[in-house]
Symmetry: C2
Subunit: 246 residues, 2 copies
DNA sequence: CGCCGCTTTGATGGAGATCAACCTTCGTGG
DNA sequence: CCACGAAGGTTGATCTCCATCAAAGCGGCG
């Protein structure tokens, strides 16, 4: 159930078999299935614990008063939404499903149990949280400085590598369910311009995007195009000195 | 020394006198003074602990390969930069001073001591961290959806309220040291357009900005203009049920 | 005084928004 | 099994916000 999370965390530190089982158990306690295009958590809701995305894609988003919408991040299998958010009275943004989604609710007690039971798990979860913040900063940079092609390219690089790090990519391809309108809400571009940008990228033979599947024809070219530097994802085992040895 | 931090944290939970002293002590252990326009921490550096901004303004930023720069956040007195960042091998962005700055280095041990000594402090620091993430999300929205006037207005609202919450505003005015070029790097606008946007805002009688001082003539009008909703700053004492009673 | 960092102004150009159709795909029900 | 409708994708024409380029003010300080 929580294989993706475990795989991802091991990019930081190797977990013991017992620790993996503990995460496995936490992630299978309260599992729900949610239809496509539903809200999982809404701005203003009281959060109880964290959400683990087990399968499918979700996004965090927020509407402005006048109806404009910005997607501030995508959540893919293995992602934890808002560790610690139960400290707050209410959600300041919404989380909605893009596809059918399987989530596990991680209660406050479950999380505290995991973290106090193993400092290695605690550190791994904090690492994941730091990476999530770094991703958010990178989105700020993306929207502030990059033009349409660079922006889309960067987004594709991010989501391919994130899925790969969780064992969710196949060769040079991965799931990619967002519609062009959703890509527009994420990149701050109009749907029309997203469409034209994708055509440009296709004709430059950077990517293929169809049937909710992304194929990256030339990852180096795509990364160059995006000026993508993967170091912000911190996938190079920063916690190796804390590895479990079983 | 750390009055601003203590003031700010009390927007979440009331701290006991002993807890305030503990923070005070932590924030006065290793204090340094840094000149204006210097790097405090550079991308690639190994982080040891967190930084507390005691006085002056700093910013987090990152360059793209081709020299474009994006400022991803401003740090004002009372702000902690990257709690827990010592888990990472290297910084994925830089922190630079805008003005002369006084910082306190909070070592990993100091932080762990503070947090294990008082769960109330631990929660308050996590709250601060959650708010920092929310601010980063809001920047994403700002750059993705708002036009120039709305964007600048939103930035002014944010920084006024943040300083106010740390006891650093005076009436309807506060420090505001960034140059127009720096505002451009933060908002993704050119310097020229920042200038024209400010003129527009001045002539609409929203703000006065001179001598590194921001005066907000009509906060309601400014917030309306920006479609600013302060709830993401979580200043309404979400931890009140955990208040100390002395 | 003269220089340097910052702000301001004017003129021109371009990336991307907006508007308005039209097309394609696919699920649903008659 | 085809009709139809809705959701998503594509195209063309026009407009606008903001970038860019270039130069000129302005104030503070050595």
């Amino acid at each position: 159930m929580s294989q993706a999370l475990i795989r991802k965390l091991q990019n930081f530190v190797k977990l013991s078999a017992a620790e993996q089982r503990a995460i496995e158990r936490a992630g299978s306690e309260r599992v729900r299935r949610i239809g496509a295009h539903e809200d999982i958590l809404r701005e203003g809701d009281k959060p109880n614990g964290a959400l683990l995305i087990v399968d499918g894609w979700a996004c965090r988003y927020k509407y402005l008063e006048d109806g404009r919408r910005q997607i501030v991040g995508f959540s893919v299998p293995g992602d934890i939404c808002d560790l610690n958010v139960f400290l707050l009275k209410e959600m300041d943004h919404s989380i909605g499903s893009l596809t059918e989604v399987v989530v596990a609710d991680l209660s406050r007690e479950t999380l505290e149990g995991l973290m106090s039971g193993s400092t290695r798990i605690a550190h791994a979860l904090w690492w994941d949280n730091l990476v999530a913040n770094a991703i958010q900063r990178e989105w700020t940079i993306n929207l502030g400085q990059r033009d349409a092609v660079e922006r889309m390219s960067h987004l594709f690089c991010e989501l391919f590598l994130r899925q790969k790090s969780a064992g969710r990519a196949q060769g040079n391809s991965c799931d990619f369910p967002p519609t062009q309108a959703e890509l527009g809400d994420a990149t701050g571009l109009s749907t029309v311009h997203v469409n034209r940008t994708l055509q440009q990228m296709r004709s430059a033979d950077l990517i293929t995007l169809q049937n909710k599947r992304l194929v990256i024809n030339d990852i180096d070219a795509l990364m160059r195009q995006a000026m993508f530097n993967p170091s912000y994802l911190h996938l190079d085992r920063d916690g190796a000195h804390l590895d479990a040895n079983d």
